[in-house]
């Protein structure tokens, strides 16, 4: 039976609960791994599963299952299971207009349009470029894709059916010269591999050439530096430093914080505006409607340096007396939606990257990110860093991490460039508690920060 028809058969009115919904996800995923010329993995993983939720007297009961034939019974069991929890605070579900969202936009360009043979050929085409370089040791090429179709129906009449797609790869390698070494990679993101091969090889050659000077580069002298962050680092910084702080679930239960995070409060330089917006087609943060049926809107988190909004699920919006922003997301059908980002970025300014660098007498240009993390101190492990002297990029240096206090750094942003870019990935994503990786994207322009700890 068609999934949408199966969902229509569920009789929500027979349940003695305050609210109920069901989300069904049908997913096709491919994973390919080459180590040198050796194919180690070429796996296609199909899955079909459902996540059911009931809300009663302020408590939630959830069920994740691959068994879709007894959904009505599963709802009845959840109605009983929720009683196991201690009595909670009453949470009234808001009245929503019954509405259906139908947003199918990837079927014709999905990763499934390429066969496993074509996906393998894309990966193996990158191998000779890696193997030909004498300094390279132990190269790997990893490919990953996902096409997902989602159906949702809630007891208040909201429903959706939409699809999501991404594909991408990375080629990772170690350059070695005697005892000196440098790890680097090139990342790719697209909708499917068809027609990508030649361009991918050229990009990889450029990445290898750019990486070579880092093998024998010295380690940076630890300290505070004036830095120019490229758009990729800006994106990670935005996501890790302020994006996570804007997720409203961290404010629950803390009355002091509600006053502290009042809208309009000055929290950053006047030139800074940060946005979370799911409406960017063909990015890994593309999201038309969230996992509990709320339309994803463009949300300003900071506008002209002032606190302008935060990210909500329905529940956090109710508890903080604000409106849902369409940011309740689950990693897959096995998890409940929690407050997550989509595409998070800093809005662009006027100056080019060259103009930003020309204004620096002494500092560092930080380019490309390997990973990042945001707590009281945010930290980002960059892939490359160069000295800036008298307005010009000079020698490469090895850097393990750049870090800083989130609020101090937001106020230390001096310049915002015009070289805007949003970076997507099919291989990583955002991690929050047990849910990793959730596809998101982040970006912005290059920015100048007057002081950051580099070590």
């Amino acid at each position: 039976m068609e999934i949408s028809k199966q969902l229509e058969l569920i009789d929500f009115s027979s349940l003695n609960v305050d609210y109920a919904d069901i989300r069904v996800e049908k997913t096709d995923e491919t994973m390919i791994l080459y180590r040198e010329t050796d194919l180690r993995e070429a796996t296609e993983s199909p899955s079909l599963g459902a996540f059911l939720r009931v809300l009663k007297n302020g408590n939630w009961a959830f069920k994740a299952t691959t068994e879709l034939n007894n959904l009505q019974d599963e709802f009845k069991k959840l109605e009983a299971r929720v009683e196991l929890l201690p009595e909670g605070e009453n949470l009234s579900w808001p009245k929503r207009e019954a509405k259906h969202y139908e947003v199918m936009k990837y079927a014709e360009i999905s990763c499934n349009k390429a066969s496993l043979k074509e996906k393998k050929e894309f990966c193996s085409a990158l191998i000779p470029t890696l193997m030909e370089e004498e300094m390279i040791q132990g190269p790997i090429v990893v490919y990953k894709d996902q096409y997902k179709e989602k159906w949702f129906r809630a007891s208040d009449g909201v429903s959706y059916h939409y699809d999501y797609n991404h594909a991408g790869a990375y080629a990772a390698f170690t350059l070695k010269d005697g005892e000196n070494r440098y790890d680097d990679s090139h990342k790719y993101f697209f909708q499917n591999v068809i027609g990508q091969k030649d361009k991918a090889i050229e990009e990889l050659k450029k990445t290898i050439a750019k990486a070579k000077p880092f093998v024998n580069a010295p380690t940076v002298e630890a300290g505070k530096y004036r830095v120019v962050l490229d758009s990729e680092i800006t994106g990670i910084f935005t996501h890790e430093s302020f994006g996570h702080k804007s997720e409203a679930d961290f404010m629950l239960g803390d009355e002091t914080m509600k006053a502290e995070w009042e809208m309009g409060k000055k929290v950053a330089s006047d030139i800074l505006s940060i946005v979370d917006d799911g409406n960017w087609p063909e990015t890994s943060g593309d999201l038309p409607v969230d996992d509990e049926g709320n339309k994803k809107e463009k949300t300003y988190l900071i506008k002209d340096g002032k606190l302008a909004g935060r990210l909500h699920s329905t529940q956090t919006a109710i508890m903080l007396d604000e409106k849902p922003t369409g940011n309740a997301r689950a990693m897959n059908f096995q998890y409940e939606p929690i407050v997550r980002m989509t595409n998070t970025y800093i809005e662009k300014g006027e100056k080019s990257l060259d103009q930003l660098i020309a204004g620096i007498e002494s500092g560092l240009f930080i380019e490309g990110a390997r990973h990042g993390m945001g707590m009281s101190t945010f930290t980002i492990a960059p892939s490359k860093a160069y000295k800036i002297q008298d307005g010009k990029i000079t020698d490469p240096v090895k850097v393990s991490v750049i870090s800083g206090n989130v609020f101090e750094t937001l106020n230390l942003i001096e310049e915002v460039g015009n070289d805007f870019h949003i970076a997507s990935s099919s291989l990583g994503g955002c991690g929050k508690m047990e849910q990793f990786p959730l596809p998101v994207a982040d970006g912005g322009p290059s920015i100048v920060v007057s002081e950051m700890t580099v070590s």
Binding site: K120, M373, S403
Partner: protein
């Protein structure tokens, strides 16, 4: 032709805690199936998340020509084993244990807001291979974490505590050190930059380069930091480091790997400072002429690969309390998230949460500091000791060394 079928049924009952409230319960019941058909030097595979007939899975595997992988090693045969590990819990017991933990922390540290999860898992795995392998293992374990947020703090989180058990209960006294430190959370000490003894009580991301070096591909292809160093003394002689496979108290239950290879309880990787072993599955052991270590592991939808179980230092001679008391000044690292190591071995990380102690007396929380050190020195001339006990109810011994502190 040899046919392998693997079925894993899992049941999770997870209790979510959100801002002190135990207000969400999640049941997850999944069946994961996979088939691998070994024929003429090729492995044909298929997988499915959900119920599926064996014949259907076999057909899909044999049709998957482009996903076929080469193999040139001998498969195990005639291994039969059945075992049941762990303590089974009823749903009501899981809820009660969660409540016991939350109540304990709220009573001891009332100025924090608690969120997190308590997860109870039952696994029923069945590996059948036509070469005579029949491994049936059931196990259950529980664990989780609480994220702590100081009331009024602008941070997403201020601390974190993790726990795990295979016995169905957790001794509340095992959180005493953690609680004692956090009673001084509001006192931020003023400390100078310089060199200090530092003790890592949980995460040890400075080990990333060594962990990577235990991968046979990276080790033998020369891309690992410690490539070519097997058999050499690379760390202080008091450092012993193992891959731990079976420790029922902590919910670790492996007696066979996923290639039906029997495994020892622990595999020594560093013995008295000497790099002794790296890990192998059958493919990489054959490829690199290494000794099989029983580290062939795979999920239902992935290929076999060499993977570690649980890396941990072997216990040292002194307890955590004795170690911190033995130093005039000392920093306890609760969270050092986000650090990294350059390809030259220079490790650096901001301290997200640390505490400053003098002669074992807790003085307060550290200000915003960054720790730096070279990993060879941290585990060489700057090494101090490894604890003989665990700071949290998890399999993880504390590591102490001298490090540079930047402000």
């Amino acid at each position: 032709m040899i046919e392998e079928y693997k079925k894993l049924k899992t049941k999770n009952l997870t209790i979510n805690i959100q801002a002190d409230a135990i207000n969400e319960i999640r049941e997850k019941m999944l069946e994961k199936n996979s088939a691998r058909i070994f024929n003429d030097g090729k492995i044909f595979s298929a997988n499915f998340l959900g119920k599926i007939e064996r014949e259907e899975l076999k057909t899909r595997a044999l049709q998957n020509q482009y996903g076929a992988l080469d193999y040139d090693y001998d498969l195990n045969s005639n291994v039969t084993h059945k075992e049941d590990f762990g303590k089974r819990l009823e749903d009501t017991q899981v809820v009660a244990l969660t409540k016991k933990l939350v109540d304990h922390f709220k009573k001891e540290l009332p100025d924090f807001i608690y969120s997190g999860k308590f997860d109870y898992e039952e696994n029923d795995s069945d590996l059948e291979v036509s070469s005579g392998i029949d491994l049936k293992v059931t196990n259950s374990h529980a664990g989780g974490y609480f994220v702590l947020k100081r009331k009024g703090s602008p941070n997403i989180m201020d601390s974190m505590v993790a726990f795990g058990t295979g016995t169905g209960d957790i001794d509340l006294n095992s959180f005493n050190h953690f609680i004692d430190l956090h009673k001084k959370f509001d006192t931020v000490v003023d400390m100078e930059a310089g060199k200090y003894p530092v003790i890592f009580v949980s995460e040890k991301d400075f080990l990333a380069k060594f962990r990577q070096s235990c991968s046979p591909d990276q080790y033998h292809q020369g891309s690992a930091f410690y490539s070519g160093k097997l058999g050499e003394k690379i760390f202080h002689e008091d450092i012993n480091f193992n891959d731990v496979r079976c420790d029922e108290k902590h919910g670790l239950f492996a007696k066979y790997d996923h290639e039906a290879q029997a495994v020892e309880k622990e595999l020594p990787l560093i013995k008295n400072g000497v790099f002794t072993n790296i890990i192998y599955d059958k493919k990489t052991a054959k490829k690199y002429d290494g000794k099989l270590t029983g580290n062939g592991k795979r999920d239902f939808n992935t290929a076999m690969k060499p993977m570690a179980y649980t890396f941990d230092f072997a216990p040292g001679k002194k307890s955590y309390s004795e170690l911190v008391s033995s130093q005039d000044k000392c920093i306890v690292i609760i969270m050092a998230g986000g650090g990294d190591t350059t390809s030259s071995g220079d490790y650096s990380s901001p301290v997200q949460l640390g505490f400053f102690l003098e002669n074992g007396e807790i003085k307060g929380r550290t200000p915003e500091i960054t720790i730096t050190g070279n990993i060879n020195k941290m585990m060489g001339e700057d090494f101090i000791a490894i604890s003989n006990d665990e700071f949290f109810p998890l399999r993880s011994h504390s590591f102490m060394c001298h490090m540079n502190i930047l402000k």
